[in-house]
Amino acid sequence: MDQQLEQLRAEALAALAAAADEAAIEAVRIAFLGRTGKISVLSEGMRTVSKEDKPRIGKLLNEVRNAVSGGVEARKAALEAERDQAALAGIDLTLPGIPVPQGAVHPINQMLERAVAIFRKMGFALADGPDIEDEWHCFDALNTPEDHPARNEADTFYLPDGRLLRTQTSTVQARTMELVAPPVRIIAPGCVYRRDEADATHLAQFTQIEGLYVDEGVTLGDLKGTIEYFFRELLGSDAQVRMRPHFFPFTEPSFEVDIKASALGKGDKWLELAGCGMVDPAVFAQINKKRGDQAYDAEKYTGFAFGFGLDRLAMILSGVSDIRLFTENDVRFLAQYK
């Protein structure tokens, strides 16, 4: 019987090796392990085996049975693996990937997000005001007298009711101080409007970001620190800042801010990028008058304000020479800011 079993094992394994598909494997399995299969039939003979041989033959029978059923599984797995491999064979992995549609945030808003992140780090909160303004918030509150050159129809857009489109985000300074007593530490981004004919460097509309800090003991040194910190964070630690005295009605002393930085790509040239200064006491006086109190006592509080154009900054930083590209929304342009 031992011999017969060994022979069946060999026979079965050989048949499995020759089996080319699942059906052939199954046929082998039935032929040997099925109810009437050769191994099953042979195992019937166990009854006739002598008592002393029984444990040995029984063990062998199990071994053979396991070997054959193991062989069936192994052959199946081998066939499956062959099939899997065949299915993936010959694929050209150099074919291009399937594109996923991808858009981009507008470059000016990318610039804005960067600027806001830096100012927030310094503890500035955002503030907001309307685009349609009255003359008081745009001019009077900001110490710009009635006969100031900016206050006329040639430079400023007016609505039929005498209100106007704000010419600067400084209006938000006035709006904020009108509502909130010091300390105030805000930035205010927004659209501003000037009656300029469009060309490569001008649009009748552009984007500014304004800043205001009023508190006890605010100094010109604080303003300098803020401006320096901002531009170094934005443009890299090699950014040099020059503050050049200038004139604005709502600050005194006032400065224009020139920057030199390799990120600007203009070599050794100073670029005028911002205006700033210490809040003029006349502005506080106007605010107090409007509020009907002395919340902004110029003897107690001092402050600084600054403003700059995001369009110009974005233009310089990304090497755009025509500002109109920012409002034409050509996707070939926008897609470059992915």
């Binding site: 503890g123 909160a125 010109l220 040194g221 050049r244």
Partner: protein, 785 residues
């Protein structure tokens, strides 16, 4: 303002390097916008005369010349130019001269022939940008004269003077500024200083001030027997150096004094005046022929200088063609006056006429300098044109001289600047600028109308010590987030989400001002108009972001871009209570996915793609209701409670065609301000413990029964086991073959689950059957199984 360095040098010592001066001025807020050098500043270049010329023996293009240079012996010069002949006078660079570009002239051999210098072109001398051949000098030039003397070197600064600094619109004012910045003495010549103490005679009937609020002070002085003619070289040179044309000696003197002291003056031809001067408002429609040859129509809001007959000048702006000084003039009347800045500014703007005079008057001239300037001009006129002046100018009114005492506290100055400024520094600066120390502060000079408050003086100190003297301080401060912060973050999140890979929208930014026609393409609220637009195409404030996006689409179509997804987030403007709000608009058109080798022709986007995008925005509490819209062929409204907060749909095909679209355009616009910008805190839902079972259901209903009604019917059964309804097929057959005409086949996957146990097939079948019954009863549905 153009400033001559030669002129300044007469008043103050300047640094040798003009760039250093420019830097110092710019740093002090007097921005130098340009530096222009004229003339020739090169040594060892003289006038030479060609004596002989001959062909170079070894070079076709060169000549060998003998020239006289003023020394005893003629020189031999090899030259490549051809444009000269024997007898011409030309510039000759002698050995030792250093030409621009650090090119040194030496004696040497050119193709074997000795050359002891170089004859020069205008370009080589820096006198012209471009010049062919040698510079041929006038025959009168004296051989041996240094070229420097023929073309005296001059440097002119182009300075941007801010509107608060009228005192800088003169050379004396500029010199005062520089003297203080450089800590150098200011040297005002005696001839000028002497003019300060001039007395005047009452005007009597000679001058009538009929608008004293805008002309409070007017002086006139007659000079008889002047000889009008060309100006002497020094006067001419000064004017020309700063870009003024020389007219005649009288006019030139008035301009010279204006440039020197900042006071505009005007000379009338006495013979052309009829009676005394009237300073009066113009009459309505009064015509005036000005010196620029143009006729201006004036009105009562303009001020004129007139005689008893007619206007002679637009006050402070420009004189008249008919009363000016000409070659035949012998007697003149010299005007020196003070006009209200706002008046001159308005007049100049209204007439679109500005002049050196109006430029100064509208910025405020020194009221205390009116008489001094007149005296200075009279002295100069007598010097260059002779004549006999009246003993004193006749003056009407009084000059509004103001020299206020300004309180000043050193501690305050230090506290505001955050810099430890020394008292002596402050004194030096303020004294230098012409202020006088008083018990409690300083008295400002009349020529500095910008110095009236303590802060004005602090600014002067800051300007001069410079920002470098102020140590930077870095302060941060905790500030509570504002509503604007939350709105900004909300906008940022939407921007990031829509532009992220997958949705792939590009963010657009369009202009606020659009045309009325463009606004009409997508009506939204009532229009707000601009009173003074730049043109019809920018006449109204956009009531919606959609018109701008549609124009952007059209622009992209023209550039050949057909598959487009754009969004914009910005303010829109509508007349009424809520005038401004932030809106989000989307447009999409073209292929639903980028074409690839796997899918060469992806399908075109439709309304349901748009709806899917809107769903990703997670707008809380919003339902979509079928609606109509004048600009949309298919439209739904976004409702939040009873409020309409947006609209979405497919643009009218006719509008799309007008934009040159080749596929449907989908549009949505949402009012963002109604949504709470605070970031949402998510609540966790327990994960299901038992498996779900899904059963499909395919039904036939009348074609007009909407999907929403079917789901509503399913949900209204309140079957507790039903946890999901998913539409997976909609089918109609216009032929009526596969589905009867007027009906549609819809198929849903219904998901059942219990929170307590694994469902048996029986339980599921029961629930499923119940739902089918409901559909049958409510919608007359039949089932395809």
């Amino acid at each position: 303002m153009k400033v001559s360095l030669n002129w300044l040098k007469e008043l103050v010592d300047l640094p040798a390097d003009v760039n250093a001066l420019s830097e110092i001025l710019t740093k002090a807020g007097v921005e130098v916008e340009g530096i222009e050098t004229r003339g020739c500043d090169l040594d060892h270049i003289v006038v030479a005369q060609i004596l002989e010329t001959a062909q170079h023996p070894n070079a076709d293009r060169l000549s060998v010349n003998k020239v006289a240079d003023g020394s005893a012996e003629p020189r031999q010069i090899v030259c490549g130019a051809k444009n000269f002949k024997v007898g011409d006078k030309v510039p000759l660079a002698l050995p030792g001269a250093v030409m621009p570009g650090d090119f040194k002239i030496k004696t040497g051999k050119l193709r074997g022939v000795e050359s002891a210098g170089m004859m020069c072109s205008a370009k080589e001398l820096g006198l012209a940008e471009d010049a062919e051949g040698l510079l041929i000098l006038s025959p009168g030039a004296v051989v041996g004269t240094p070229i420097k003397d023929l073309f005296p070197p001059e440097t002119v600064l182009d300075v941007e003077v801010t509107p608060n600094r009228p005192d800088l619109l003169s050379h004396v004012g500029m010199a005062r500024e520089i003297a203080t910045l450089l800590e150098k003495p200011l040297r005002i010549p005696e001839a000028i200083l002497g003019c300060k103490s001039v007395s005047s005679a009452p005007a009597g009937d000679a001058i009538a001030l009929e608008a004293p609020e805008v002309c409070p002070f007017y002086t006139a002085r007659a000079i008889r027997g002047v000889k009008v003619g060309p100006s002497p070289a020094w006067l001419r040179g000064k004017l020309e150096s700063v870009g003024l044309r020389s007219i005649n000696n009288i006019v030139d003197v008035t301009n010279y004094v204006m440039l020197e002291l900042g006071q505009p003056l005007h000379a009338f031809d006495q013979a052309k005046l009829q009676g005394g001067i009237r300073v009066r408002p113009a009459t309505a429609g009064e015509k005036f022929l000005a010196l620029d040859g143009k006729t201006y129509e004036l009105g009562p809001n303009h001020l004129v200088i007139a005689d008893q007959q007619r206007a002679l000048a637009i006050a402070g702006v420009m004189g008249g063609e008919e009363s000016g000084v000409t070659e035949t003039t012998t007697d003149i009347l010299l005007e020196s006056a003070w006009f209200a800045p706002a008046k001159i500014r308005h007049t100049s703007r209204e007439l679109a006429l500005s002049s050196d005079s109006s430029y100064r008057f509208e910025r405020t001239v020194d009221p205390a300098g009116v008489l001094a300037a007149s005296a200075r001009a009279v002295a100069l006129i007598q010097e260059v044109a002779g004549g006999q002046a009246e003993p004193a100018p006749r003056a009407a009114g009084t000059a509004p001289v103001s020299a206020p005492e300004v309180p000043f506290r050193l501690e305050r100055c230090r506290a505001l600047l955050g810099a430890d400024v020394a008292a002596e520094t402050v004194e030096r600066i303020l004294t230098g600028f012409g202020l006088e120390k008083t018990a409690n502060g300083w008295r400002s000079p009349s020529f500095r109308p910008d110095l009236v408050r303590e802060i004005d003086l602090i600014e002067e100190v800051a300007r001069v010590i410079g920002i470098e003297a102020v140590p930077a301080r870095f302060v941060t401060r905790y500030t509570a987030s504002s509503e604007a912060d939350r709105r900004f973050d909300q906008a940022t999140q939407i921007r990031r989400q829509l532009s992220a890979p997958g949705l792939g929208f590009h963010e657009a930014r369009s202009l606020t001002l659009i045309s009325e026609k463009s606004a009409a393409v997508f009506p939204a609220g009532n229009l707000l108009k601009v009173r003074n637009p730049l043109g019809e195409d920018q006449a109204v404030l956009r009531p919606s972001l959609v018109p701008g996006l549609l124009e952007s689409l059209a622009r992209n179509f023209r550039a050949g871009q057909r598959d487009l997804r754009l969004f914009e987030l910005g303010r829109v403007f509508q007349a009424g209570k809520r005038e401004e709000h932030t809106s989000l608009a989307l447009v999409l058109t073209g292929a639903a996915a980028p074409a690839s080798w796997r899918e060469a022709k992806p399908r075109t986007v439709d309304f349901f793609d748009l709806k899917g995008v809107i769903a990703t925005l997670g707008l809380k509490g919003v339902t979509l209701e079928t609606a109509t819209h004048p600009a949309l062929a298919l439209a739904v409204e976004l409702h939040r409670g009873k409020r309409v907060v947006g609209v979405a749909g497919q643009l009218l095909p006719a509008t799309a065609r007008d934009l040159d679209a080749s596929a449907p355009i989908l549009v949505a616009e949402i009012d963002l301000d109604v949504f709470d910008p605070a970031p949402a805190t998510r609540r966790f839902t327990e994960l299901p413990k038992f498996p779900a079972v899904t059963r499909d259901i395919a039904l036939l209903v009348a074609a007009e029964v909407p999907h929403e009604k079917i789901t509503a019917s399913l949900l209204s059964a309140k079957e507790p086991l039903l946890v999901g309804v998913e539409l997976f097929d909609v089918f109609t057959d216009p032929e009526g073959v596969k589905v009867p005409a007027g009906q549609k086949s819809v198929a849903y996957a219904l998901t059942y689950r219990s929170a307590e146990k694994t469902l048996t097939a029986e339980e599921v079948a029961q629930a499923h059957q119940k739902l089918k019954e409901r559909l049958k009863a409510e919608l007359a549905a039949t089932f395809r199984e």
